[in-house]
Structures are given as C-alpha cells and as structure tokens.
C-alpha cells in the first residue's frame, strides 16, 4: 500500500475501500479516529495507520427532521428523517456516524449502549463527494 498522509482525504479514500482507518501513536500507543498526524496525548508526531474493527456501541443519537441543505438534497426531510449519533468503537475512540437500521418513527426504540457495525455503502457518483461514516444498528 502506498504511504498516505494522516489527513481527512486519506481517511475518506480508505473508507471508499471499506476500511475504517485511524492513526496510532508509535510513542504512547494512543489511538485516533479520525486520524491525525500529531499525538494529542504525548505531543509526538510519529504515527502509524491503525485499522478499526468497525464494531462498537451507541453513545448518543438524534433523529433529524430539519437537516442541512446537503441532507435535504439527498431526499431527507420532515417526513423522511435521518439519524446520526456517536459511536464508541470497541478499541476506544468515538466517531460521529450516520446510523441506519433503526425505526425512526419511534426514536425511543433506539437504545443507548446498543451494538453497531460499520457499513460501507457504495460511493456516490458525484465528483469529489465524501461518503459519510455509516453504521448499522444490530
């Protein structure tokens, strides 16, 4: 694999290849998701890529009925809500993700602590579009 910089561009390119990649500090072992080049724990900048399992649990969520223009243009809206939330990976770090697989007409049917798994929908056609991090409730 070619050497990639620890940037958002690299993160999303990995995501397109169905890999949830973060960075790991070679000095102190701290994990970062999304990846970053500089360790916020020990302030060193010797990182290596780290692949996350994609398994985690739900920390928080919201069912959105008034979205951003980007999401309204994807077809979401008052009667077609979407759900996003925070996921804590089994390895520790947290990430924001679009959440699929829940009954959005009953938001309180979703349980905090529920297990989730990363999924990798096919990349959209639009030039330059970054696919969102996406998880499915199990």
């Amino acid at each position: 694999m070619e050497v990639k910089e620890f940037t958002a561009a690299s993160f999303y390119r990995f995501l397109d290849r169905k890999k949830l990649m973060g960075s790991k500090c070679k000095k102190c072992g701290a994990l970062f998701l999304p990846p970053r080049p500089f360790c916020g724990q020990c302030l060193e900048n010797e990182m290596e890529w780290f692949q996350f399992s994609g398994r985690g649990k739900l920390i928080s969520y919201s069912v959105v009925r008034v979205g951003t223009t980007m999401y309204e243009e994807k077809g979401y809206g008052r009667d077609t809500p979407y759900c996003w939330g925070l996921v804590q990976l089994d390895e520790g770090p947290r990430i924001s993700a679009l959440l699929l697989g829940a009954d959005l007409s009953r938001p309180d049917s979703i349980t905090i602590g529920q297990s989730l798994e990363a999924i990798f929908p096919d990349k959209r056609e639009e030039e330059g579009e970054r696919n969102p991090v996406t998880f499915r409730l199990e």
Partner: protein, 422 residues
C-alpha cells in the same frame, strides 16, 4: 512548572451596556443594528461619555461573511459609529464571539494599553432561508467529520440530551419547563425577540382558530401545548421547536474602563472580578463525556478562582441556553446544581426569577433571542440592567454578584465572566 494564579494586572469596570432590539429585521443590516446598540450603550452611562474618548473597539461576529456577504466587519462598525481610525478587531468563536470580544477588551484595559474600550457583538441572520442559516451555523461544528454525517446544531445538542436523559433521567417535560420559564422572563423584556409567554402564544393561537372558524385546539395549559406535535414539532429528536433559540438579528455593546477612572463616568460601575475561557474538541466525538461541557467547567473554575467566590455566592446568571438542554447542563457545569440535578432544579422553579438561583432573567437566548455574534455582550446587558436596578418588571432583589456564561458551538469554546457591584 509552577502555575501562577491568574489575575488582571489592573482592575476593569463596566460603565454602561446596551443593546438593539432583538428580533427578525430583514430591512436592517449589521451596521444598522450596531448603531442602535451603540446609541443604547451611550444612554446607559450615568454621567455621560464623549464617544471620542473610546480608544479601541472589539466586535464579536460569527459569520456576516455568509449571512450578508460581508467580511471584515469590525472597521465598518467603527466607521458607522464614528470611531475610525481607532483599532477595530473582530473576534470569532462561533456563538461565543462577543463573550470573547468582552474578554479581549478586558485584557486590553487590564494590560494598561487602553483606558476606555468599546466591546460589542452583532449578527444579522434573517435575510436568508432557515435552511441556509442551518448550514451556516452547522459550519461552526466540525465540517469534515460532523456535518458530513448530517449534524445540525439542534441535533448536536440532541446528542447531549439523549445522554443526559439516559444517565440522569432528565425528561422532555423538564426541558419544556425551561422554555416556559424563559419565555415568562422574555415577556417582560421590551427588547426581546419573543415578548410573549408560551401561555399567551397558546391563547392567541386558540383565538385565531376561533376567529377563522377552524377546529379549536384542546390545550388547557402550556404543557399540553408543548406536547402537541402540531404546535411543537420535532426538529431533531428529542429536541423540538420550543427547545430551540430563534434565528435572531441584533447587536449589543458595553463600555469598559480602567477601574481607577470609572467614577468619572458613573457612581455605580460594575467591576469585572473574574474571567475564564477554555476550548475543547470541536466534534462531540472527540470528548470523553458529553453530559457536561468540560470547557464550561474549566472556564468557570478560572473565573471563580480569580474572583475568589464560589457558585453559591452568585446571585444571578445569564447562561447559554441555545437549547433548553444547554441551560440544564450549564447550571450543572457552573456548579449551581449537582450533575444530573439541573433539570429537576428547573422543574422545581429554583431557576425562576423568584427562585434561589435566577437564571436567564432576560429571557435567555430562548426568548430574548440569539443573534449569535451579539449574544455574549447581550448577556452582559442583562447583568448590567439587573445590577444597576434598571431591569423593570424583571428586576430581582439587589444583585451584587452575577455571572455570564457564553458557549461557542457545542462547547468547543466557553467563556465565563463574573461581575461585582460594590
């Protein structure tokens, strides 16, 4: 490394604070709103001030760039109030922009560089559609990793709400009580965006339905009104329309001077005795716990330490209630109530005007309005009016110690100030 206790190298006092009307003013631009706030502040200086004595100006503004196509707003504000060529500096820390302008003004006077500065904030948001405003505000979150998954501001605070509910049992009804309380306060504030209580709003909708011969809603009190999804629709579950602060246009200004000259301008200056500011991960996923805002706790700690007071001593606070859950969390982070007890305190009336800890007597961001860049100094306006006894029907008993708490975005910037009347 030994940490030196932080203090201001010389005292700073507020000699006046005033604001424009807050509301939706499509015919007004930022500069018009700022002029209105400037005229208001001059009118609050007891012995008067020659504006030419002002030496520098600090203006908080989130995004006139996007809202109005106008970058570089600080010199324009200075120009429109006749203060060119004095140095004019803009501060931008999302919704904490003017709380930070206030702090920068304090630091400038404390340093000895200036004796008299104007601090203020301005935002004009209503010329755009709600969808565009949602996008621009969302840009104050993490654009790459939060906005990409659909984050909006209501849905960011909804994350905090779901965790708070799960961990502490906070209920949607308790959050509704916060909205009712703040609207009750805003109804008594002639400059507020919403000048009616939720009960009055409910009654006027019933009256309108009667007038138009439509089916008459069966609401008998505010809680029934707020529980009706046709009156209070979900924006980002569990956050509903009446949990959100409105999209507001407005400006606010205050004048700060070196303490030793304050009495040239007023016999009742308000002294700045504590200031604190902290930052945190921009994205919620970068924080270990989201039932509280760590930056709020740290900023408050700094301010309390500098002031030499405790949360118990604070007699009145304006806190950043961009959403009802934000007020609950703020009252916990500032140490007024134990973690998890903020919602019950609101429900029991402890944060009402006549409660043990009056919170957001102005109506808060919820009812007074939230012109984001003006909010921080707008909070100082309420503190000023309450401390100087000019809060009219909102006046609580004599206030000698008050606090203002201003949050940027979902808590990646927080600034806290403590003021004393001697």
């Amino acid at each position: 490394m030994v940490r030196r206790a932080k203090k201001l190298t010389r005292g700073v006092a507020v000699i006046g604070a005033g604001m424009s009307h807050f509301g939706a003013f499509k015919e007004k631009d930022s500069r018009d709103l700022f002029v209105e706030a400037f005229q208001a502040v001059l009118g609050t200086v007891q012995k008067g001030i020659d504006p030419r004595e002002i030496e520098a100006i600090y203006v908080g503004n989130l995004s006139s760039d996007c809202f109005e196509g106008q970058a570089h707003v600080a010199p324009i504000m200075a120009e429109w109030v006749g203060l060119n060529p004095r140095p004019a500096t803009r501060t931008e820390d999302a919704c904490a922009s003017s709380g930070v302008a206030l702090r920068e003004g304090i630091i400038a006077v404390a340093s000895g560089l200036y004796d008299i500065v104007l601090v203020g904030g301005v935002e004009s948001m209503n010329k755009l559609t709600t969808a565009r405003v949602t996008d621009i505000l969302a840009a104050a979150a993490d654009a790459i990793y939060e906005v990409s998954v659909g984050a909006t501001f209501p849905s960011l605070y909804a994350q905090i709400a779901t965790v708070h509910m799960d961990k502490y049992g906070t209920t949607e009804e308790q959050l509704m009580k916060v909205a009712i309380k703040n609207h009750d306060n805003g109804a008594l504030n002639p400059k507020a965006h919403f000048t009616s209580s939720i009960r009055d709003l409910m009654n006027s909708r019933i009256a309108r339905a009667k007038q138009k011969g439509q089916p008459i809603p069966s609401w008998t009190d505010e809680m029934e009104f707020l529980k009706d999804p046709s009156a209070n629709p979900i924006v980002a579950w569990p956050i509903k329309l009446f949990d959100c602060s409105p999209i507001t246009d407005g400006a606010a200004c205050a004048i700060l001077v070196a303490e030793d000259i304050a009495r040239n301008f007023t016999d009742e200056p308000i002294h700045v005795i504590g200031t604190g500011q902290a930052s945190d991960a921009q994205a919620l996923h970068g924080r270990k716990d989201i039932t509280s805002l760590t930056a709020s706790k740290l900023a408050a700690e700094q301010a309390y330490e500098m002031a030499g007071v405790t949360p118990k001593d604070i007699q009145l606070a304006e806190v950043h209630d961009c959403f009802t859950i934000a007020e609950v969390v703020a009252t916990e982070d500032l140490g007024f109530f134990k973690p998890g007890e903020g919602s019950r305190a609101a429900e029991e009336g402890k944060t009402a005007r006549d409660g043990e800890k009056p919170i957001n007597t102005s109506g808060g961001l919820k009812s007074k309005g939230h012109p984001v860049g003006a909010t921080g100094v707008g909070q100082l306006v309420e503190v000023w009016e309450q401390m100087s006894g000019h809060a009219g029907q909102r006046q609580v008993a004599r206030v000698n110690l008050a606090l203002a708490h201003n949050v940027g975005a979902s808590g990646s910037t927080v600034v806290v100030h403590i003021f004393e009347r001697r």
